[in-house]
């Protein structure tokens, strides 16, 4: 065994990993640091511009109720983008999952089964996307544009284009769990944090998470090293499907009504959050924490501009500015890190 060219285990154990200096640490986490920087600057501007709005807790609770409705999907979308894919269909999955919910509830009268059905529909939609992308090899941007219309179409056909009131007393407990408050914090936000923590653990502390990065970084290397690329991608799409269906449930319970248009207009915010958070469109790079920050930024612009009484169309101006500044910064940082 001595001559294998591999140091014996004891020797390995004795070898300390070289220390990371604070400068090296900052350099390595330059992207996250930059995103935090932009978030702080933006928030400071908001406070200075409209102190009575931004130092009042009302805006934060409004924000805590609305941001998670699409923010949770942004967190799950991070997985998909890290594998160098994209999904546009999750906004339709939100609504289709809820069709499963109301239909199963009508049939069985069981809320628990309805919840299960909702999440299963989400999973099925996600796996369907994953199958088209990973097994058939169709570019995800194109095919999920198709499934976005397809899922929406099924939903509209099933609902016959009309909404469903969700005022049944049986939904009381579910509504408490999804839309109540915990220690003064809206449960919507608590759920977003829970999902964020779960996805963080999966991404950073499991083999599956490690494989997500490798698949997005270099899919040929991943295959040559025995990583099951198809399974990794399908799971990423499946996860997003489940989270989208869950978000649909949270949103519908919040408004006590299933709108046939549920999810319409929530497409660009999660995508913006993912890219604001430093996840690379080229795959292989991304963090859940960054997406979380990105979602907070996008959400606070949305809530802030409206509450500050600034006319609504400035929201878009702000979005545009923040996104452009962040992406320019990210590019400059990545270029510096490479040289």
């Amino acid at each position: 065994m001595a001559k294998t060219g591999i140091p014996p285990r004891e020797e390995v154990a004795a070898e300390a990993v070289p220390r990371i200096t604070p400068r090296l640490f900052l350099r390595r986490h330059a992207l996250t640091t930059g995103t935090i920087g932009i978030a702080v600057v933006m928030w400071t501007i908001f406070i200075v511009a409209a102190p009575d709005v931004f130092l009042n807790s009302r805006i934060y609770s409004a924000f805590g109720i609305t941001t998670p409705l699409w923010g949770m999907m942004a967190l799950a979308l991070t997985f998909v983008v890290i594998t160098r894919e994209m999904d546009l269909s999750f906004v339709s999955v939100m609504a289709l999952g809820m069709v499963g919910f109301v239909r199963v509830h009508e049939f069985t009268g069981s809320v628990l089964l309805a919840i299960l059905a909702c999440l299963l529909v989400g999973l099925a939609c996600g796996l369907f996307n994953g199958f088209l992308v990973a097994v058939l090899g169709i570019p995800s941007l194109v095919i999920t544009l198709g499934t976005m219309f397809f899922f929406r179409g099924i939903e509209l056909a099933l609902l016959d284009g009309t909404g469903v009131p969700l005022t049944d007393d049986a939904f009381g407990t579910l509504r408490d769990v999804l839309n109540g408050k915990t220690a003064g914090i809206p449960n919507e936000f608590v759920w977003m944090v829970i999902i964020g923590v779960l996805l963080w653990v999966v991404l950073n502390r499991t083999r599956y998470g490690a494989h997500l990065f490798v698949v997005g970084d270099n899919v040929d290397s991943a295959r040559l090293m025995g990583i099951r690329v198809t399974r990794v991608k399908m799971t990423a799409f499946g996860t997003l499907g489940v989270v989208a269906a869950f978000s649909g449930m949270v949103a519908s319970m919040q408004s006590s009504y299933l709108w046939p248009t549920l999810g319409d207009g929530s497409l660009l915010l999660p995508i913006a959050a993912v890219f604001l958070g430093g996840t690379s469109v080229f795959g292989g790079i991304g963090t859940i924490f960054g997406t979380f920050l990105g979602a907070l930024m996008v959400g606070s612009i949305q809530a802030g501009v409206i509450s500050a009484g600034i006319s609504g169309f400035y929201t878009q101006l702000f979005f545009g500015l923040i996104i452009i500044v962040s992406l320019v910064m990210q590019t400059l940082i990545s270029r510096r890190m490479r040289s």
Binding site: T4, A13, D217, N218, D220, S221, M225, G226
Partner: protein, 257 residues
Amino acid sequence: MDATEPPVMELRGVSKTFGEVRALSDVDFHVRRGEIVGLLGDNGSGKSTMVKMMMGYHRPDPGGEVWFEGERVQGWSVAKARALGIETVYQERALADLQSVWRNMFMGREPVNRFGLLDIRRMRREAAALMKGHMGFTSGAVHPDNVVQTMSGGEKQGVAITRALFFEARLVVLDEPTMGLSLSETQKTLDFVRSIKEAGRSAVFIDHNVYHVYPVVDRLVLLDRGRIAGEFTPAGITLEQLTDRLRTVARTGRLEG
């Protein structure tokens, strides 16, 4: 090396067609325990295709069989091959450029703790030790957390080679491991190949430089346009005769001119 024992790895009647290109035609090939087999052949003769066939990356055309330790394997895959103890240094290196050295070293075989969570401490520690003790990185700038993208070509190759040796595989396949390496690094790589044999394990060694291959192998297999064109032992042929044969085969496709 025991001729009665079944070979570690064996290909029987393996062909591989990519569209119009026939990369391998009816190839029979085996490696025994403790044996180093050199694989020689021109560019495009099918060496890398054969490597990927053994690893389960390519599937043979119908009729071809892959055998591992005396058993015909069904549903052979890279994950299975690695789990059974075959590691490869691919010609294309198979690294993930944007990921850290430790993530690359353990790519696809990440150790987990008893909760099923990644044992990152161990991966970073072992990567640091391997880089220092094995790849001879002395500069403090090379940290296991560094991304591979920032490393030099030879250093990247070092990561790929060290990775293949780390898992103490029963069979190590090296596809042009010395390509682009300095003299001293090449020497180290050749020493690794020898050490594989001394540890009673097997290797397939591909290198265009016969001066690298000849001294370290037990057997030489010559591939030409997807076919096995001949087999030699270093004992049965001198280096001069071998280079002569190689030229003849390259020119005529046959061993005798």
